[in-house]
């Protein structure tokens, strides 16, 4: 059981005794005694059955993985780089930043010099008690990105975080806890990418919390390119102050069971949030995107577009919540979820959920799920393009709308490459 594993692996999560990190760990362990993992009885987990997942006996590595040649996972572009293998920070492969303007480092390493601010944010976080998943993550809190961009500074380079789940010789449980603080008027571009090596079972249990201050901007890309036996559970919570700007693009291109929770809380007026998602599923992959945007104050704007392609026996879930609080007048909130089922066996459950308590708002939502249209397919074929290639062209056209949103360029190119591979390299896209 997941819970027992945490108890047993003290060494990997060892932190200074008496520190807040240790206190958080203890508190979480205590909490885990009384809370259980959600079941399909739970409305939030109705279509995602995690019974098998939480009963898997994952292996946890105590030491750094020996696998050293990971450079082919790194982008060619200049960036700050945080590298993790099986949940453990690899400083030797990373290129960190730690100066008066900004910090890009592993949470644990940054803790000694930035204890005060880390304590302040972690201690007040309510995320740790959200679910059993976030609790086991807290019981482990040590590894993960700490990104701190000071007032009025823009990072000169994007931050690229890569996690490699090495399951070639054994299963693996890995957990990361990111803390991101973008101070007033500053800017951050953060790209996370998750890979698997090997064929054993694994779980990445990720918790990410970002605080975007007044007039600050954050661009956030999550690339999930895991293998068929890798599962991924992700809680990303974003807090936005006034006039801040946040863009999230989440790409899911594989895995066994993927559950993303993306919660954006608009806490200052004139904040803007853009949430884009693309999931391309085949085999037995199950991917569940739960998003929530909470309009707590007036005059904010949120825009969400999630697109999905489901082939073979894959299953998908989209649940998009929009809350508009009573005083959040002049809210603009848009949401759209579009799916294409490429096989008879694939299925999609989609549910927009709007809870609007204010009256002067502009909200809209729409959802479609259908097969690839016959007419365009025939048109392309009648011009000499074989069926497989014609399908690939149409699918690419469908997903391009999301790919175009991805910044910076290296992340977009990586995403395009991944999509082409998913399509069986039918396309040379100019």
């Amino acid at each position: 059981m997941l819970k027992d594993i945490i108890e047993n692996f003290q060494a990997t999560r060892k932190v200074e005794s008496g520190s807040l990190l240790e206190k958080l760990q203890q508190k979480a362990l205590q909490l885990l005694k009384s809370i259980d993992f959600p079941t399909t009885e739970d409305e939030e987990w109705k279509y995602t059955n995690i019974k098998k997942l939480v009963n898997t006996n994952f292996f946890v590595k105590n030491s750094d993985a020996s696998y050293a040649n990971l450079s082919h996972f790194f982008p060619q572009t200049e960036c700050y780089r945080l590298v993790y293998v099986n949940g453990i920070f690899r400083e030797d492969l990373s290129s960190v930043l730690l100066d008066n303007n900004a910090v890009v480092h592993n949470l644990y390493e940054a803790y000694s010099s930035h204890q005060e601010i880390i304590n302040q944010y972690l201690d007040s976080s309510t995320l740790h008690t959200e679910t059993a998943f976030t609790a086991i993550n807290a019981a482990w809190v040590k590894h993960g990105a700490f990104i701190y961009v000071r007032r009025g500074k823009a990072l000169q380079k994007p931050v690229f975080l890569v996690h490699v789940q090495d399951t070639r010789s054994h299963s693996s449980l890995a957990q990361l806890r990111h803390l991101i603080i973008v101070e007033p008027g500053s800017q951050l571009s953060f790209v996370e990418q998750y890979y698997t090596l090997g064929q054993s079972e694994s779980l990445m249990n990720l918790v990410c919390e970002a605080f975007i201050s007044q007039s600050a901007r954050m661009n956030h890309v999550l690339l999930q390119t895991e293998k068929s036996l890798s599962s991924f559970v992700n809680f990303t919570q974003v807090h936005q102050a006034q006039q801040s700007h946040y863009t999230n693009t989440t790409l899911t291109l594989g895995g066994q069971l993927v559950r993303n929770n993306l919660h954006v809380s608009l806490e200052g007026e004139h904040a803007e949030a853009f949430m884009y998602g693309l999931y391309m599923l085949k085999g037995n992959t199950h991917a569940d995107n739960h998003t929530a945007v909470d309009h707590r104050v007036p005059n904010c704007h949120s825009n969400e577009l999630y697109k999905g392609l489901l082939d073979e026996r894959s299953t998908g879930v989209f649940n998009g919540k929009i809350f508009v609080r009573p005083n959040a007048q002049k809210t603009n909130a848009y949401q759209s979820n579009k799916n294409i089922l490429l096989s008879q066996q694939a299925s999609m459950n989609t549910k927009p959920q709007l809870e609007i308590w204010a009256d002067d708002v502009k909200c809209s939502h729409g959802t479609t799920t259908g097969a690839l249209e016959e007419e365009p397919l025939f048109y392309l074929q009648s011009r000499g393009i074989c069926q497989e290639k014609a399908r690939a062209l149409l699918i690419y056209a469908f997903v391009a709308e999301i790919l175009e949103k991805i910044q910076p360029l290296f992340a977009r190119q990586a995403a395009e490459q991944m999509v082409k591979e998913w399509l069986g390299n039918q396309l040379e896209i100019a």
């Binding site: 007419e375 365009p376 025939f378 048109y379 392309l380 074929q381 009648s382 011009r383 000499g384 393009i385 074989c386 069926q387 290639k389 014609a390 062209l393 149409l394 690419y396 056209a397 469908f398 391009a400 709308e401 896209i429 100019a430």
Partner: protein
């Protein structure tokens, strides 16, 4: 080149073509006319390889090969082209990209080397002049937001790029004003090289003033009921289809 023999086609339980026979030789231009609902579009769709139709009887050969057994893309690669009556809009697929893919797929099948970017562009420029199509249309998504005339011109442009042996124009004239009609016809005429064959499907005689057919056939109730030279089209224009209908009914 194309030989249709006693073709019977139904969709669901509905019989639409009831024994069509037609032979088209290299270099010939055949017009197929007929009142609405006579099966003209069905004939072109069956030839192009649309799957909703069931061929219950008869055969179609294209240069001696069984056309009905080929997938739609193979028919195109073999040299058959259909200009659609209603070209579909495909957002997100760039016109140029699509065409480059199509041209090179077809070339590959015919044992020709693929065109590189420069050669393709040169070819495109040449053919663009032919149909007076604007560069800006080609960088846009395929047919998306194109006017009726632009769509039809794009069809002829694709035809020019794909170099078919036999082109079928399905009511290419419908919805076109005189200028657009003239441009489309000019494109088609420029591609008449004595070898390439055409089947021009139309309800009206109008287009045939610009594209002179060698043969005119009248399709009625899923059958070719009358064939003749270009004067038949003029007779139809003058007397309307009722004249033919009456003649048929009388002979039954």
């Amino acid at each position: 080149m194309l030989k249709i023999e006693n073709l019977h086609v139904k969709i669901g339980e509905k019989h639409i073509l009831n024994g069509v026979s037609l032979e088209v030789k290299a270099g010939e231009v055949h017009a197929i006319m007929g009142p609405n609902g006579s099966g003209k579009s069905t004939l072109s769709a069956v030839l192009a390889g649309r799957e909703d139709y069931e061929v219950v009887e008869g055969s179609v050969t294209f240069e001696g090969k069984n056309l009905l057994e080929m997938e739609a893309d193979i028919r195109a690669k073999e040299g058959l082209f259909l200009a659609f009556q209603y070209p579909v809009e495909i957002p997100g697929v760039s016109n140029t990209n699509f065409l480059k893919t199509a041209v090179n797929e077809v070339r590959k099948y015919r044992g020709l080397a693929p065109l590189d970017a420069v050669a393709f562009l040169k070819e495109m420029k040449e053919k663009m002049k032919l149909v007076e199509i604007d560069q800006s249309l080609l960088s846009r998504s395929l047919n998306e937001g194109f006017s009726g005339g632009e769509k039809k011109r794009n069809e002829i442009f694709q035809m020019a790029m794909l170099n078919p042996k036999l082109a079928i124009l399905d009511e290419t004239d419908s919805g076109l004003d005189i200028d657009a009609l003239r441009i489309v016809a000019k494109g088609v005429n420029a591609l008449r090289d004595g070898k390439r064959a055409f089947i021009v499907i139309t309800h009206y005689q109008r287009l045939l003033e610009y594209i002179t057919p060698d043969f005119v056939h009248v399709l009625y109730k899923g059958k070719i009921v009358k064939s003749g030279g270009k004067e038949l089209a003029l007779a139809l224009e003058e007397k309307g289809y009722d004249w033919i209908k009456k003649e048929i009914e009388e002979t039954v």
